[in-house]
Amino acid sequence: MSTLYAILDWPGTKWVFLILALVMPLASILTWMERRQSAMMQDRLGPNRANIGPIKLKGILHFVADAVKMIFKEDFIPANVHKGLFALAPILAIAPVFIAFCIIPFGPTVYPHSIGQTLDPHLLATYPGLITSDPQAYKAATELFSDSIRMQIFQIDFGLVFYFAVLTLANYGGTIAGWASYNKWALLGGLRSSSQMMSYEVAMGISLMGAFLVAGSLEPGWITFHGASPEMSGSNPFNWLWLWQPVGLVLFFTAAIAETKRAPFDIPEGEPEIIGYFVEYSGLRWGLFFLAEFIEIVFVAAVVCTVFFGGWQVPFLDADGFRIGGYIDDLSKVSTGGYFAPLPHGLVVALQFMAFGVKVLLLCWFQLMIRWTLPRFRADQLMNLGWKLLLPLALANVMVTALIKLLLMPTS
């Protein structure tokens, strides 16, 4: 059995699970959801026809129809394009997003031997250091916690810096697509893409700096697990960083939407009028750019959810059950007491998985709301917003947060 758990805990398995179970379905459904939601916002019905026989599901199968259409479309490669880079660009656009998903904790650590029973977080927190003196307890704990599946592919201390580093590479996809297309409009679109990415990358990184200071870590799994303050349980919604970093949240969300290259920041593409970097692409290659954009929406939602909205945490659901009004135990640093309703570990894990999915879906929905509410920025307005507003505010946010952290919050 432990071989099976070792395979399940292998990063490749988790990556395939995450991509197949969460990212691709959500990104595919977003292509339909975007059109349907924008229709509802504009008093229309939107696509509701695609069906397999009598199964209609409000047209949710439109993404299948779209995929089939894109596969069977002619894959036209114009003369004079740089063939190698032309083929490489869509992959460069989509691959970094897939890689960046590695750092997202999409669920709690699962202890397969405790699935049926209530987890004892004190035992877990003190295992194996403090209980070695009692061989009986040590043996029991070893049986319970010997196998674990951590629902995060790549746990590293510099997690969110890794995300910034990798996702910046996605920009090369757009820029190279514009250059390789041998088309002046595509080239200009690629240039706009680079300038926008460069401007907003800075503000984006610095706007998260306040969150790092408050949480005391760059590791998204740590931020999700512990929240802002060590005095409260990580499952307490008031311990999530939206309350501690409201300015950082607004700034990061704005910059992240700019990073996804969607309206109101869609000047690299501007499909109907100003013509973007993928003007020469057709068929499935264009589909990859399209899909990369939707996967980036899911990714931005996942990052915002992880850093600011407690990730997989369900409000007031600790590892051993629902608890309201508890306190933090000095020894094990987990919450105890309060009004408590115990739940088996399996149910807790299932609820936390669902919480992550629901939060990500809601944040995707909110991004679509913004995209269909605001008109496009002009290029100069975009630069003004990025350099003159977001960046100074982000810097001020870092300074104020650092001062508050230094003067008011106890060092622990």
């Binding site: 509802m40 008093d43 019905l45 709301m369 509410t373 917003l385």
Partner: protein, 226 residues
């Protein structure tokens, strides 16, 4: 000159002039209106816009559809408190009833005995600007009626739906009041309406058959004498 300048500076739509140069009266110092802080932060406007779109989305997402009769048919949209605001007509299942004078697919009218009313006078193919009507006449085999169409075809792909054929027809034999529009076809040949298909849509005309009878000429003269 000075008077003229002072009037331009007082014009409400022009920029506010702070000073005018003595040597070059057209060189002026004007007050530049810069966007206020609340306009450049975009936050308030974004929140307001999100409120509007959210209201529409929530209403259309949670409330049921209005009945078709309350959506497009009555003209002005009907506000129903417990229904959403979606105006889309789902075409093949739902159809909007067209106005009475809507020019739809052609129909050939029938005589009282069910025969075709057309006498193949060739007025409609002559007047047709799109040359979409083909008539091949034949003898009717009846002394009171000289001709009838052996073939009467209208290419609905060429038809510009101008209605001139209906205007030109002297015996109310062709009409466009079916209220149907041309159906989608997979083959261009299927878009050609034949005599049979148009007769299948035909109805009996209330106009007097054969005009006003053999004595109409004399009757018209006597009318003139009155």
């Amino acid at each position: 000159m000075d008077h003229a300048h002072s009037t331009t500076s007082e014009a409400p739509e022009g920029p506010h002039v702070l000073a005018v140069s003595d040597r070059h009266p057209r060189s002026r110092t004007i007050q530049v209106v810069r966007p206020q802080a609340q306009e450049t932060t975009y936050l308030a406007a974004t929140a307001k816009g999100l409120g509007i779109t959210l209201k529409h989305f929530a209403r259309n997402f949670f409330l049921p559809l209005k009945k078709l009769s309350k959506r497009n048919m009555a003209g002005a949209p009907v506000h129903d408190r417990w229904k959403n605001e979606i105006e889309t007509v789902q075409y093949p299942e739902e159809k909007v009833v067209y106005p009475e004078r809507y020019r739809g697919l052609h129909r050939l009218m029938l005589r009282d005995d069910g025969a075709v009313r057309c006498v193949a006078c060739m007025c409609c193919p002559t007047v047709c600007p799109a040359h979409c009507i083909t008539i091949v006449p034949e003898e009717a085999g009846d002394n009171t009626i000289e001709k009838r169409p052996a073939i009467f075809e209208i290419d609905e792909l060429r038809c510009v739906v101008c209605g001139l054929c209906v205007e030109a027809c002297p015996c109310d034999a062709i009409r466009m009041d079916t209220g149907e529009h041309a159906k989608p076809v997979e083959d261009r040949a299927n878009a050609i309406e034949t005599k049979e298909s148009m007769l299948a849509r035909g109805i009996r005309s209330t106009a007097v058959q054969g005009g006003e009878g053999p004595g109409w000429h004399a009757g018209a003269k006597s009318d003139g004498n009155h």
